[in-house]
């Protein structure tokens, strides 16, 4: 009896094992620098404001997303009809052109109150649902600003990082041999206006992290001195007019101090000064030239260029302990350092084979990568979200211009602010 029972038990347990199959695992290592395929249809617009605009709202959004380098903007020309709202979306039309997302919208204007209302949606073509559906209201003069707001919202939703399409840049324009001006414009070059005009050169503009002021070097006193312009009041103060040259202002992350370069007692050395011009202290004192300071976002270290090793290389110094380390080793000269907002990437100009190119170094693993071809690139700075780089470039025989390159190196786009010579530029902070 007992044996009979045992036999039964073993039999049905045995049959259990036959059907308990283990689940297979697949490991997928690494990935690609893919661009998200997205389509932006022309919005349904019935406003006079739209007719006067040099670019339609969908074009502004497309240009923003293209410039970021993370999106592949699809041509909507082949699609038979444009939906005006999320209910009208025919998903098979859009999956046929390989779109993963779609932006669409409608603008209605009220001439009495002089306002316009923009209803727009972001649609997921794979999952066939609406990701975002929002309404923006404003005056017709805010047409571009509303388009940039839509780009920012979509960018943040899909990449998890804040967009910078609403931010401003400042740049120096050389109109003639004795006519220089510092301009402020939208990050894409539209709506530019001059805030400083001078007969002598203006160089090294630097926007403070809190967005209130721009520091710059001016030659109006026949030698380089540093001014700080208050963007709200329009007033400026003379920050540094020490004996010798005063140059290369760099704001601390809390906008309270600046690192500057003085040739006060010797060759170029780095000092730290309060933003109201008080309390100057020398940070670095060596026999070599030390210049082009840049603060790390944690406020504890300053990166700079020194020729103590025989050529220009980038070093970093801890402000409290004064411990110094060399950072760059590649190429002939490495100049113009600046740090990404998260402090993990070092951006600089690498000179090799007589070409000056924009380069990145990952400070975690010291991997090095060039982003541009040169031949004469200068003054690279990160966008406030660290995803784009603003820099000045000069082609052989042409005037110098400014442009952006996406951090994955895939998209280089000029910023069109006119045909004059554009010198250095700086990027204002995120303000929303």
């Amino acid at each position: 009896m007992r044996d009979f029972l045992k036999f039964f038990i073993i039999l049905f347990f045995g049959m259990q094992i036959q059907h308990a199959a283990a689940i297979e695992t697949i490991e997928i290592l690494g990935g690609k620098a893919n661009q998200i395929p997205i389509a932006v249809t022309p919005f349904d617009e019935q406003t006079l404001a739209a007719q006067k605009q040099p670019q339609k709202i969908n074009q502004i959004i497309e240009n923003d997303l293209i410039r970021s380098g993370l999106f592949d903007i699809l041509n909507t020309g082949g699609v038979s009809s444009y939906p005006r709202n999320a209910d009208e979306v025919n998903y098979s039309n859009w999956s046929a052109i390989q779109a993963q997302f779609l932006i669409l919208g409608q603008i209605v204007s009220d001439t009495k109150s002089n306002t316009m209302e923009v209803k727009w949606s972001l649609v997921d073509i794979y999952k066939q649902n609406v990701v975002l559906s929002l309404v923006l209201k404003g005056r017709p003069s805010q047409y571009r600003a509303i388009a940039h707001k839509i780009s920012d919202t979509v960018y943040e939703k899909l990449t998890g990082t804040k967009g910078v399409f609403h931010t401003k840049i400042a740049f120096v324009k050389k109109k003639a041999k004795d006519s220089y001006a510092l301009y402020v414009s939208d990050y894409d070059g539209f709506n530019q206006r001059a805030i400083v005009k001078s007969k002598k050169p203006i160089i090294s503009p630097r926007w403070s992290p809190n967005g209130e002021k721009i520091a710059y070097v001016s030659f109006e006193k026949e030698k380089p001195v540093i001014y700080i312009q208050n963007l709200v009041s329009g007033q400026r103060i003379l920050l540094a007019n020490f004996k010798g040259n005063n140059s290369a202002p760099a704001w601390s992350p809390d906008s309270k101090k600046l690192a500057i370069v003085l040739t006060y007692s010797a060759n170029s050395q780095i000092y730290i000064i309060n933003e109201d011009g008080t309390d100057i202290k020398q940070l670095i004192r060596t026999y070599a030239i030390n210049t082009e300071p840049a603060w790390a976002p944690n406020g504890e270290e300053i990166f700079y260029v020194s020729d103590r090793g025989g050529s220009g290389q980038i070093y970093k110094i801890n402000i409290k302990t004064l411990e110094t380390k060399r950072v760059t080793y590649e190429g002939n000269n490495n100049l113009s350092p600046s740090l990404s907002p998260d402090g993990k990437l070092l951006l600089f100009i690498s000179q090799k084979d007589r070409k000056y190119r924009v380069a990145l170094q990952n400070l975690l693993n010291n991997q090095y990568l060039t982003l541009t071809e040169g031949p004469h690139d200068e003054s690279p700075l990160f966008s406030p979200n660290g995803h784009m780089i603003l820099f000045t470039y000069k082609d052989y025989g042409k005037t110098s211009k400014i442009g952006t390159v996406s951090i994955n190196g895939l998209t280089k786009t000029p910023i069109n602010v006119g045909s004059e010579t554009i010198l250095e530029s700086t990027w204002g902070p995120i303000t929303n």
């Binding site: 039964f8 297979e24 490991e27 690494g30 990935g31 993990k344």
Partner: protein, 289 residues
């Protein structure tokens, strides 16, 4: 009678127990050892359409051939007919000679002109041909470059597949065989290599679509998803995230990569498919490949 009952009672408990046991045993046997509802019926999914959907392809860019500039041939020279004057024969003959020579000259000039125009035409045609050839060569070069890139990628993927295969085979050979085993493993060799092949195909397809730009810079960022497949290669339902990367845009990008990779390559043979229909996908987007 009474005596008989007493005898029965002694054996009763044993007998009752035994009957109970047999009943329980049979009951369990009935429920557990007979297969029911364990295998997914091999079905095909069909979408019913009443009209064929129109897919609008983007209009192909057709370049109109440049209109060839053809000059009209010069009109044939008009032969003037001079009125026949009564003159002396010699003069007439001279004049005839001169006229003939003129004619010849004009004809030669006309011919030369025609030749020149023909030459120009031929040159234009040559130029157009050369341009077309250049374009073709450029296109071919581009295609070749694309092919080479694809080949490179395939080679790299094959290398990874090789390494994975070797590791797996090593793994299999090291595990001791368990006494109670399913039929499939006993049949052995060909099944496990087929399985590995499909796993590699699935890994390659999904890998192409993982957008690692949205996953930050930390090298050990890891995600795990569980999916269930249909025999068509499409997901049966939404994928399930078992481990998040802690970065929302990265989680979404990897989920999109899985969706974008449909239909996944799956075996048509139902027994092999049943081993692949539930999969666990482990991602490390920032790992160095």
């Amino acid at each position: 009678m009474f005596f008989y009952n007493q005898l029965e009672n002694n054996y009763n408990t044993q007998a009752n127990l035994f009957t109970l046991l047999i009943h329980v045993g049979l009951f369990i046997f009935m429920i557990f050892s007979i297969q029911w509802n364990m295998q997914v019926p091999y079905y095909a999914e069909v979408e019913l359409w009443d009209t064929i959907p129109t897919q609008t392809k983007p209009a192909p860019i057709v370049k109109k051939p440049e209109p060839k500039k053809i000059k009209k041939p010069a009109p044939p020279p008009v032969i003037k007919q001079e009125p026949i004057k009564v003159e002396r024969d010699a003069e007439i003959q001279l004049k005839k000679k001169k006229a003939a020579e003129l004619k010849k000259k004009k004809e030669i000039e006309a011919l030369q002109k025609k030749l020149q125009e023909q030459e120009k035409l031929e040159q234009l045609q040559k130029q157009l041909l050369e341009q077309e050839k250049l374009k073709q060569v450029q296109e071919k070069l581009k295609e070749q470059e694309k092919l080479e890139q694809l080949q490179k990628q395939l080679l790299e993927q094959e290398k990874i597949a090789q390494i994975q295969k070797e590791l797996r085979e090593k793994d299999l050979s090291e595990k001791p065989r368990v006494a109670i085993e399913s039929n499939q493993d006993v049949l052995g060799g060909t099944d496990s290599s087929e399985l590995a092949k499909y796993k590699t195909l699935i890994q390659q397809k999904i890998h192409q679509n993982v957008n690692k730009q949205l996953c930050g810079l930390e090298p050990d960022t890891t995600l795990v998803f569980k999916i269930t497949l249909m025999p068509t290669g499409y997901l049966l339902s939404d994928s399930k995230m078992l481990q998040s990367s802690k970065i929302a845009s990265c989680d979404e990008a990897v989920e999109r990569a899985i969706l974008q990779s449909q239909p996944l390559p799956v075996p048509t043979e139902s027994r092999l498919f049943s081993r692949l229909k539930d999969l666990e996908l482990k991602f490390q987007p920032n790992a160095i490949q």
